[in-house]
Structure formats: structure tokens, C-alpha cells
């Protein structure tokens, strides 16, 4: 009988453990598909020298504080991503709320092998103050 109890525990653990692991930021994934995947691609690879990658992007680490404002108001700058230069233009999505932005960022931070610290909603709200329009 003990065997069954142990087995049930194992299965329950696998069920909940894996289920939660599979897709930690579902809302973020959905929003990413809608607002970002057209340019940065489903796998975060970007496009040639035109659109920088998000997968493995060092920019996410070095410019962490700027990310919420970039998502909301876009970016038109000359930037370096993993040693390559981009002088392009990204439109922002001004209709995104702080909650949306937190979800998208956390999806990016933990997808395609990225392992950045997640954002908290208050962090994002505070950072958005800087570019409030």
C-alpha cells in the first residue's frame, strides 16, 4: 500500500510540477505573439541585421531598466546587441498596461534559454514613470 501512496505523490508532483514549469508566463506568451513575434520571430531570433534577437540578447541584462519604456514607446537608436550594431526603429505599443508589460518581459526573460531575473509589477510601474507621457 505504501508503494501506491509514494507513486501517487510522485505523479501528483510530476503533474503539478511539470504543468507549471511548461508555461510559466502564458499571458506573456500570448501578448508576445500578438505584439512582438512578427518582428522578433516566434523563437526570438530576430531578422538578419534588421531586427535584433531577444533570444540570448545581452541587451536584456545591460539595459534592464529601459525595457519597460522600450516596449511601451518604442526605440529609435543605435544599439549594440551581442556585438552587432542596429540602427533601426521599433514602434512601441502605447496601449500596453504595466501588467501587460510585466507579463511580456517575464516571458522573454525566461524563454529560448534566457534566464534573467523576473520583473515585479511595482518595478515596472516605477520604471514606466521615467518615460510617462
Amino acid at each position: 500500500m505504501k508503494v501506491f501512496r509514494v507513486l501517487s505523490a510522485v505523479f501528483l508532483f510530476l503533474f503539478f510540477g511539470l504543468k507549471c514549469q511548461q508555461n510559466p508566463y502564458r499571458e506573456g506568451a500570448r501578448l508576445y505573439q500578438v505584439h512582438c513575434a512578427n518582428c522578433h520571430m516566434d523563437d526570438g531570433a530576430g531578422l538578419s541585421a534588421l531586427i535584433p534577437p531577444l533570444a540570448g540578447s545581452g541587451f536584456l541584462k545591460t539595459h534592464r531598466e529601459r525595457l519597460p519604456c522600450i516596449l511601451k514607446y518604442g526605440l529609435k537608436d543605435t544599439i549594440q546587441v551581442n556585438g552587432k550594431q542596429y540602427a533601426e526603429q521599433m514602434p512601441g505599443v502605447p496601449t500596453l498596461s504595466a501588467v501587460h508589460i510585466t507579463n511580456i518581459l517575464n516571458y522573454i526573460q525566461t524563454s529560448w534559454g534566457n534566464q534573467e531575473q523576473p520583473f515585479r509589477l511595482d518595478d515596472v510601474e516605477a520604471l514606466l514613470e521615467a518615460c510617462k507621457r
Partner: protein, 206 residues
């Protein structure tokens, strides 16, 4: 009796697997009968300018099959995905002079020759193989119809233009033979198979 049945099944199986040539791709569009001849719609004469200021006309694609799309550089929606899939096609046929690519900008005002040149360089494409063209506004919008694609100006649409992400395959005789959703990698896989079939059909084995 049993043998006849068996033979029937064997025959059916044989037919079903059809070892002969695959059926040719259809010619798309309404066909018409003119003086007893059956005619299919053909791509009309055109003349545009590419990223190197070279004229691009039907003659550019003489004895080639070519892939067409409509895009604009500052497109906030589907264009980069279509370009990414276009790049897959480009890479597959990069060294095959029988295949060309032709992308029309529908943003005549902003996508100047210089802008197209820069875009092509950033994409890393060779102008001989992939022409990014601009030209007369009305000529571009009307040829979109001939390719069964959609291109309209629409201030309400993201970026100000409404267009489909279709990739369109044109044969040596200016007939449209296939198309696919350029944002969908699987559909593009199928499309590249169609391209291979068309090459088989229209060019003698090398």
C-alpha cells in the same frame, strides 16, 4: 473469384501510389476562350526600379520562375515574418539562376531606392536574385491584383497600409501557379515543394 479481387486491390494500390509524374500545378485564375484558344490570365507588362536603380521588367524574369510579394519597410506587422520566410526561399535557391524573387514596396513615399538599398544590404541579399522594387504608385497597386494579392492604403491599418503576406509563384509564361501564407513556415515549406515541381515541369533536366 478471390484472385480477381486480389488483382483489383493490387491495381488500385498501384494507381493510388502513382509512380508517374506528379500532376502539374494548376494555373490560377479564371480562364477565358478567345477565338477558340483557351487563355489563362497572365501578368501584364511592368516596369519598376530596384535597389540598385536598375529597371526591372518582365524581361528580368525571362526564362525564370519567380516569387512575388508586397511589403513596406516600416511595416509594424507581418512583413518581417514574410521576409524571414522569403530568406529561406532565397537561401535554398541562391545559386539557381532559374529562380528569382521580386518584392514590391507599397510605401512609394518612404521606400526610396536608397531606402530599399539599405534594406537589401541589411537583409544580406544579392540584387541579381532578389529585387526590391518601387515605382509608380498606381502601377504597383494594380499589379497586386494581377498577382491575386492585396495591397491598399488604409490609414486605419497598422503602419497605414493593408496588405496580405502572400508569396506568389509565377511561371516562365507569366502565369500564377501557386501561393502561400508567407507568415506561416509550414505553408512556405509546401510552397517550396511547389517551386521544385514547377522547375521540373518547365526546365529540361540539367
Amino acid at each position: 473469384m478471390k484472385y480477381i479481387l486480389f488483382f483489383g486491390i493490387a491495381l488500385t494500390a498501384f494507381w493510388a501510389c502513382d509512380p508517374g509524374a506528379p500532376r502539374p500545378l494548376p494555373i490560377l485564375g479564371e480562364r477565358d476562350v478567345v477565338n477558340g484558344d483557351t487563355v489563362y490570365p497572365t501578368i501584364p507588362d511592368f516596369s519598376f526600379v530596384d535597389q540598385d536603380s536598375q529597371a526591372v521588367t518582365n524581361a528580368t524574369f525571362q526564362d525564370k520562375i519567380y516569387v512575388v510579394d508586397f511589403f513596406f519597410i516600416h511595416c509594424p506587422t507581418i512583413c518581417p515574418k514574410v521576409k524571414a520566410n522569403g530568406l529561406r526561399i532565397y537561401k535554398k535557391y541562391e545559386n539557381d539562376p532559374r529562380v528569382g524573387l521580386l518584392s514590391h514596396s507599397i510605401d512609394v513615399k518612404n521606400d526610396t531606392v536608397a531606402a530599399l538599398k539599405r534594406h537589401a544590404e541589411k537583409l544580406g541579399i544579392h540584387p541579381e536574385r532578389w529585387r526590391l522594387v518601387t515605382g509608380d504608385h498606381d502601377a504597383i497597386y494594380s499589379i497586386a491584383d494581377d498577382y491575386f494579392s492585396v495591397a491598399t492604403e488604409n490609414p486605419g491599418a497598422p503602419g497605414g497600409f493593408d496588405h496580405s503576406g502572400r508569396l506568389i509563384l509565377v511561371d516562365k509564361y507569366r502565369h500564377v501557379r501557386a501561393f502561400c501564407d508567407g507568415t506561416n513556415a509550414k505553408d512556405v515549406d509546401r510552397f517550396m515543394q511547389d517551386m521544385d515541381r514547377l522547375l521540373e515541369e518547365q526546365f529540361a533536366r540539367r
